[in-house]
């Protein structure tokens, strides 16, 4: 690799060290458009670059919060319908080839190709096309002006090396060797992937933005959460992202570990199917009635549930977004926990326990419903079991049905269910809201339809006035909370466990790995594996 020595940081004494990350599952692919799990995302994030990187505030309005990455600069067109990105002249792929504008155009083609089932494709709907003005300049053309335009263009795509991939048909890309042996432009280069055991990335010493301070990062693959935790506590790993309540005490006792705060952008809820469980458009016999939904919501002691399930690691969810993304959390009101009122509301809606079996009924139908739970999520399963007991207290019978992820998705995709335990990870700027709760959103499997909510969200996302946007969001949240298409249960404060010798910048909520290249080891606390140095693998 030909690098520019002038750009490498002079402080080489700081460089070095090995970070071992425990992950509960093996990455599926390292081909960025297809990344699914968070372990895929982390490795890809370290090896590939975006054109520009969002700031720690996750500000999606305009380009103010963004910093140059592969693009050294950009120019807005006068009508704001196109942005021209100038590629950093020093940017190089790990194989030494320069990064060029054509790579950007090619990347957009891949992400939007019908032959590639890219997970972020729906986020790119506002981009009409990407053109190459000259080898260093790529121009994004938009369909309409929105405040999130810049975010749309930069956040969802990692730039791919067209010189390595263009020879492969789009359909074959997913299967190409590249997906397990990627070449990116990030400050880490891909090292090796031993199936089922570990993925290793190493510092790219010739990176124009300076070599990563760590020598290498190794993702050590465990078979499940428990095994990954074992690796951490056994000292086999330095870092683990998913700390469960039960492990907190042990981390506190472990002399070498510390917790690093991290705001995860997830929230969990019980989603009602507002239409009939047969999949038809008829209203659901129970959940079709907003009073009933509100009553059920009010019957749930969310605070206790969160205490049980997450202890200090969870907060009661306020609505369909984590606090970190809600501009003003105090400006809308929650439904109270009030079982007495809940019972009265159910009574008045005609749901009465006439036969004293503990379950209310109306017109011969029992207030009883199946609750789909994906078996992949221990957290959601716990929530379901806790909810079951609480709703029993007001005369509603919940039958949790723990399904294989696949069966779960089949049922929810087909809208054939009563209720489900949902969990979403929000994207910065709440840009995914129409997708998840909008009337046309493909993720809105409970078929919540509120024109008011849709209009408010649309206004919030399209207005260029930040203040107005916040007001729209507050009203939109109030609307959806009042409509209660779901019981908003919990969001996680998700601190990560890290070995004490690491010095790290604040973790970005949308991905702890965003600044991985700047992580370093306190030279005084180095342990054996930090002293291996680069390129000593046999």
């Amino acid at each position: 690799a030909c690098g520019d020595a002038a750009r490498t940081p002079g402080d080489t004494g700081e460089a070095g060290g090995t970070l071992i990350v425990a992950v509960p599952a093996e990455p599926a692919t390292l081909f960025p458009p297809l990344a699914e799990g968070s372990q895929d995302a982390a490795i890809i994030g370290a090896v590939f670059d975006r054109l520009a990187e969002i700031g720690p505030a996750l500000e999606t309005y305009g380009d103010g919060g963004f910093r140059p990455r592969l693009a050294s600069s950009w120019v807005w067109a006068g009508d704001s319908l196109s942005i021209a990105f100038t590629i950093d002249s020093l940017a190089r792929w790990h194989d030494g080839q320069p990064v060029v504008a054509n790579d950007v155009r090619y990347t957009f083609q891949v992400y939007t190709s019908d032959s590639v089932a890219a997970s972020n494709r729906s986020m790119l709907g506002n981009i009409d096309s990407v053109s190459v003005r000259d080898p260093r300049t790529a121009v994004f053309w938009f369909k309409r002006r929105t405040p999130q335009q810049f975010h749309d263009a930069t956040y969802h795509m990692y730039v791919l090396p067209s010189h390595l991939l263009a020879g492969t048909s789009m359909k074959q890309l997913a299967a190409s060797p590249f997906a397990r042996n990627p070449v990116g432009s990030g400050r880490f280069r891909f090292g090796s992937w031993v199936a089922g055991q570990r993925v290793e990335i190493v510092a790219d010493t010739s990176n124009p933005r300076g070599r990563a301070k760590l020598d290498r990062v190794i993702w050590s693959i465990a078979s499940d959460f428990g095994a990954a935790t074992v690796k951490l506590f056994a000292g086999e790993a330095d870092f683990f992202e998913y700390i469960r309540q039960g492990d907190l005490g042990q981390i506190a006792r472990a002399p070498s570990l510390r917790l690093v705060d991290n705001r995860a952008l997830q929230y969990f809820f019980l989603g009602f199917n507002l239409n009939d469980a047969s999949g038809s458009a008829a209203p659901h016999p129970i959940f079709g009635n907003v009073q009933v939904r509100r009553a059920l919501h009010m019957a749930v002691d969310r605070a206790s549930i969160v205490r049980n399930a997450y202890d200090s690691l969870g907060l009661v969810a306020l609505g369909p977004a984590p606090r970190a993304l809600i501009p003003d959390t105090t400006s809308f009101k929650q439904l109270p926990y009030d079982p007495t009122a809940a019972r009265a509301m159910l009574d008045s809606a005609g749901w009465l326990d006439t036969n004293n079996d503990g379950v209310r009924e109306r017109d011969g139908r029992r207030l009883s419903f199946e609750l789909l739970v994906p078996n992949s999520s221990a957290g959601r399963r716990s929530l379901a079991i806790l909810l079951q007991e609480q709703l029993r207290a007001v005369g509603a019978e919940v039958k949790p049905l723990v399904l294989e992820v696949s069966a779960f998705s089949t049922r929810t995709d087909g809208r054939k269910f009563d209720a489900y335990m949902g969990g979403w990870a929000s994207s910065p700027g709440l840009v995914g809201m129409p997708q998840t709760w909008g009337a046309k959103g493909s993720g809105n499997v409970g078929r919540y339809r509120s024109m008011a909510f849709d209009a408010l969200v649309d206004s919030a996302l399209t207005t260029f006035n930040r203040e107005a946007s916040h007001r729209y969001w507050a009203r939109a949240f109030q609307q959806i909370v009042n409509d209660a298409p779901a019981i908003w249960l919990a969001e996680q404060r998700a601190p990560v466990a890290l070995h004490k010798r690491f010095i790290v910048p604040p973790l970005r909520p949308d991905g702890w790995y965003a600044d991985l290249a700047d992580w370093r080891v306190d030279p005084a606390q180095r342990i054996d594996r930090d002293r291996i140095g680069l390129g000593a693998a046999r």
Partner: protein
């Protein structure tokens, strides 16, 4: 050679046998009486904040789990499910296996050969793999569906054994004598041969119950067996598996119950086998616990029968 016993044997139950029966009886009684003897309802969340994962105490001798449910009550109710499940699945398997085995043994040669080959094939497919795939792919199964699945995949070995046993019995001289007497096949089977299958079925069945208890625990441990919140030993184990270090009581008690029950069944199987089998039959290895998987199907030559008659060697294999 078959398990030849003087059937109405006057041999009294030995002392150790008696304690075995007492233990088994207690276990069965506890399982049946679980709703009355267990202190709480198995799914009752007592106090999700204060009693979350409480360590064993006088109030909760086995502690509580992360949903503040009483582990003792769950283990007791789990006994019902786990033991009942194993019994039902094994009975189903025995019925299927005996029927198929009898059909095979009495069918005309070509049909019989085909039936035998079919069992060979079925036995070569690893059962656990199939069960894992099916339970996962068919989605969460109700307890009864699971019983059917486990029963339907668990009878091949029995069928093979029954066939082999019937083959051997049919060659015994008393069976020939009955034939010479002009006894019809149906009568020959139920009056003369079936009583000889009883010990074999009892022994196989007992070991199979032991296996099936373990199998249920294993499937549930992987989240593919009985579904929560229903308490079975396997599901309780699974509840606690993630926190075995800090909340050991959730896994240790159902684990011990499982091991205990499996052990009792295995001991019972051993005892039954010793009782039914002649003490010393040259070269005969009597069936050992486990789903019986067989390999060779070539008929033995006359000379092989002298030592280690392959007919009589109940080819056994370990558990799934």
């Amino acid at each position: 050679m078959s398990l030849d016993v003087s059937w109405p044997s006057s041999a009294s139950i030995r002392g150790s046998d008696r304690s075995l029966w007492v233990l088994l009886g207690t276990l069965t009684l506890l399982a049946i009486a679980a709703p009355w003897v267990s202190p709480y309802a198995p799914e009752r969340q007592l106090d999700i904040v204060a009693l979350r994962s409480a360590a064993p105490s006088w109030m909760h001798p086995f502690g509580t789990d992360s949903f503040s449910r009483d582990v003792l009550s769950r283990v007791l109710h789990g006994a019902r499910i786990s033991l009942g499940f194993a019994l039902a699945a094994v009975l189903l398997g025995l019925v299927l296996g005996t029927t198929y085995g009898a059909l095979t043994a009495f069918a005309p040669r070509t049909v019989s050969t085909i039936l035998r080959r079919a069992i060979d094939v079925a036995l070569s497919i690893p059962r656990l793999l199939v069960l894992l795939a099916l339970t996962a792919f068919l989605g969460p199964l109700s307890v009864w569906q699971l019983v059917l699945l486990v029963g339907f995949t668990g009878w091949f070995a029995t069928a093979r054994q029954v066939t082999d046993e019937l083959d051997a019995l049919q060659r015994r001289e008393f069976a020939l004598a009955a034939q010479a007497m002009g006894v019809r096949t149906a009568r020959l089977f139920h009056r003369h041969l079936l009583p000889h299958l009883a010990p074999l079925l009892a022994v196989t069945g007992t070991f199979a119950v032991a296996n099936t208890i373990a199998l249920e625990a294993g499937l549930s441990f992987l989240g593919l067996g009985i579904q929560p919140p229903t308490a079975s030993w396997g599901t309780i184990l699974q509840d606690g598996a993630g926190s075995i270090e800090s909340e050991w009581w959730i896994t240790v008690f159902p684990g011990l119950a499982t091991i205990g029950a499996v052990l009792l069944c295995n001991i019972l199987g051993d005892a039954l086998r010793d009782r039914f089998a002649p003490a010393h039959v040259a070269g005969v290895v009597t069936p050992l616990p486990g789903a019986i998987v067989s390999t060779s199907s070539d008929s033995p030559s006359n000379d092989q029968r002298a030592i280690g008659d392959p007919e009589s060697f109940h080819r056994s294999a370990p558990r799934t």
